[in-house]
C-alpha cells in the first residue's frame, strides 16, 4: 500500500496543503485539467495530476473524493484555493516534473 505521503516523498514533492488525506492510500492516478471531465472519470482514491490550482479544482477533488491533488510543472496554487483545501482537508502537492513523468512515478510506486 502506498499513501499520499509515500508518493510525496518518492517524488520529492512540495506540500502546499497537508490535509487529512496525507496518510490516505493512493489506489490510482488520473491526469486532466477539465474539471467536469475529471469529476466524471477520476476514481475515488486517485492521485489527481493537474495544472489547475484554483478553488474550483479543490471543490472537484473534494466531491470526486480523490486522494490528493498534485500540481505538476510547479503550477500555481492561489490563496483562496489554499484556504478551501485547508477547510476541506484536501492534500495538495506540487512538483516540478510534468504530468507524464509524475504519472510514471506514481505508477511505479503503487505497483512496487
Amino acid at each position: 500500500m502506498k499513501t499520499v505521503k509515500d508518493i510525496c516523498l518518492a517524488g520529492n514533492m512540495k506540500i502546499l496543503c497537508e490535509g487529512d488525506s496525507f496518510e490516505r492510500e493512493v489506489t490510482g492516478c488520473y491526469c486532466g485539467d477539465l474539471l467536469s471531465w475529471v469529476m466524471s472519470r477520476a476514481q475515488s482514491g486517485d492521485a489527481w495530476l493537474t495544472v489547475m490550482g484554483n478553488v474550483n479544482a479543490v471543490g472537484v477533488a473534494a466531491l470526486a473524493d480523490t486522494a490528493c491533488i498534485i500540481l505538476t510543472e510547479n503550477a500555481a496554487f492561489d490563496d483562496v484555493a489554499k484556504m478551501r483545501a485547508e477547510q476541506n482537508g484536501i492534500t495538495v502537492l506540487q512538483t516540478e516534473k510534468n504530468t507524464y513523468e509524475t504519472a510514471v512515478l506514481i505508477n511505479g510506486e503503487i505497483n512496487s
Binding site: L34, L35, S36, M39, S40, S44, M52, N56, G59, L63
Partner: protein, 139 residues
C-alpha cells in the same frame, strides 16, 4: 423519520463559492451514513448543476429533500433558459465563455454528467424565464 430538507442560494459568477451547496449536501449525506458511491453520484450531479447556474444563469437556488428511500434535488434558476436542450445534452457541447474555460470549466459535460449520475432527470426550461432541473436518486 421526517424528511430532511436543505436549501441553498446560488449566485451568478461567484466562482469562489461555487461548489459550497453540493459540498454541504455531500457532507449531510455522508453524515447520514449513506453508501459512498451514492453520495459521490449526488455530489457530482449537484455540483454540475450548481456550476451551470454560476456560469450560465442569473442565479438561482438548490433544494434537496432526503426521504428514507429517495433523494430529490431541485435546481431552479431565474434565466436565461436553455435554447436547445437536445444540443446541450450532447457531451462536449458548451457555450461557456473563454474566461470560464480558463478556470477549467466548459468541457461540455455538465448536463451529460447530471444525467449520468442521477437515477431520474427532468428539465423544464423556457428562454427568457429560466430552467428547473429535478433529480431523483434512489437510496
Amino acid at each position: 423519520m421526517e424528511n430532511i430538507k436543505l436549501h441553498y442560494d446560488v449566485i451568478k459568477d461567484d466562482f469562489s463559492c461555487a461548489g459550497e451547496a453540493s459540498g454541504k449536501i455531500k457532507k449531510t449525506l455522508k453524515g447520514l451514513g449513506l453508501d459512498s458511491a451514492l453520495v459521490r453520484n449526488v455530489a457530482i450531479a449537484v455540483y454540475e448543476g450548481e456550476i451551470n447556474m454560476v456560469i450560465h444563469a442569473e442565479g438561482g437556488c438548490i433544494d434537496a429533500e432526503i426521504s428514507p428511500d429517495t433523494i430529490t434535488v431541485v435546481l431552479k434558476d431565474v434565466g436565461p433558459g436553455i435554447k436547445d436542450v437536445q444540443l446541450a445534452m450532447q457531451e462536449g457541447y458548451s457555450t461557456a465563455p473563454e474566461n470560464v474555460r480558463a478556470l477549467g470549466f466548459g468541457a461540455g459535460m455538465g448536463l451529460p454528467n447530471i444525467k449520468k449520475y442521477s437515477d431520474e432527470m427532468n428539465i423544464e426550461t423556457e428562454v427568457g424565464v429560466g430552467t428547473t432541473i429535478t433529480l431523483k436518486f434512489n437510496i
